[in-house]
Symmetry: C2
Subunit: 224 residues, 2 copies
């Protein structure tokens, strides 16, 4: 799964580094920061993905999240403590379950068994679908859900290489692999030129990560 | 989940009979028999669904099934034995995982916890995602995947009221509840007037079911 963000781009770089032939899947789910899809295209190309598919599914039909409902504001400048404990309004109901289902559908059609997703349990400890318990349960479900899984010759595996890393560790890893983070996009609430706001949870965590590794984030921010 | 077919229509009738306020969700996934969506609308209205949402997600992007790839033919006139053992080419990779993920997303946004799906393990014993083992595993995953599930005050439940019924038992049940099967559509390969072919797996099972209960299937068939 490749959103075009920092985490999924690093995950793709790691999968490739481990020798996998990579098929990147990006979901346009009605997110207000759909500009990230352009980043996904750039990252897929830069990292030589064998194929890149974009699939549209309008989760804004269901609502319930600041990322898909324009009437709910994206929180700004939250404290570090709040960031790491609350489930924020940017949580999208069942999003990673939907994403992994789609990845599973494509994987089975391709004859692939290894799914990579850039979930992270450190920064977003409040997101239930970023935790190991969820991932393990989905992996089990995947092997019961599919003809390929039930055949039993190979098992589907959900790889989450950055699940236990801090943002700065993720960035260090990506830099080491030669990933250009200027291609990525993380902001939940960019302006119409695609510039990051610098104040949403995603920007705060990203900026802090770059600061900790002593690098300047190469993406453009509003008012800088 | 309401496809507009016989099984999901009966499942909706049963859910309503059990006193649930029903929100119907229909998925346009690039199926060649998209005419079933019109049936879903008719059924949702006839059974007083509180809301009916249609969500588009083009699984034909991934291919791998006769239902989503026009270059793969729908099998016709297969023997009863083959029907009940093989995984046919009409199997859509991970389809019910995708459907249940979407239902879960909407349920969580609504504050609902009871999901109904008309899977059936009798007629389609070859479909892995129609079996109890899959449903139980998905239910567990759902409760780990979501903020509402993790909060733990209520658990998501996946209801499969017709999973162990034969087609004739399903029809008897629906008739008993006053369901008009003339509103439904089952054929995988209808003509451009929406008439059923009478020869695909879905038609064969449906026709056999009506025959066993001594009723005439009210939907139009080609050449009759």
């Amino acid at each position: 799964m490749l959103s075009g963000g920092l985490d999924s781009a690093t995950t793709l770089a790691l999968a490739r580094h481990q020798g996998y032939v990579c098929y990147a899947l990006t979901c346009m789910y009605g997110q207000r920061h759909e500009v990230e899809v352009e980043s996904a295209r750039r990252v897929a190309q830069a990292l030589d993905a064998k194929m890149h598919r974009e699939i549209a599914i309008d989760l804004s039909l269901f609502g319930g999240s600041a990322l898909t409902d324009p009437d709910i504001s994206v929180p700004k400048d939250r404290s570090e403590e709040t960031l790491s404990t609350d489930i924020p309004v940017t949580y999208v109901p069942a999003r990673n379950t939907v994403f992994l289902s789609l990845a599973l559908a494509w994987a089975e059609a391709l004859g692939a068994f290894d799914l990579f997703i850039g979930v992270n349990a450190m920064d977003y400890s409040g997101y239930p679908d970023c935790r190991k318990a969820f991932i393990q349960s989905f992996e089990q479900t995947a092997n019961l859900a599919t003809a390929a899984g039930v055949a039993g010759q190979r098992r589907f595996r959900i790889h989450t290489p950055i699940i236990a890393m801090t943002k700065s560790q993720i960035i260090q890893q990506g830099v080491q692999l030669g990933l250009d983070y200027g291609l990525t996009h993380s902001c939940y609430d960019p302006d119409d030129q695609g510039r990051s706001c610098g104040h949403c949870d995603s920007c705060l965590l990203r900026l802090k990560g770059f600061e900790e590794v002593g690098l300047v984030d190469p993406v453009p921010y509003q008012g800088r």
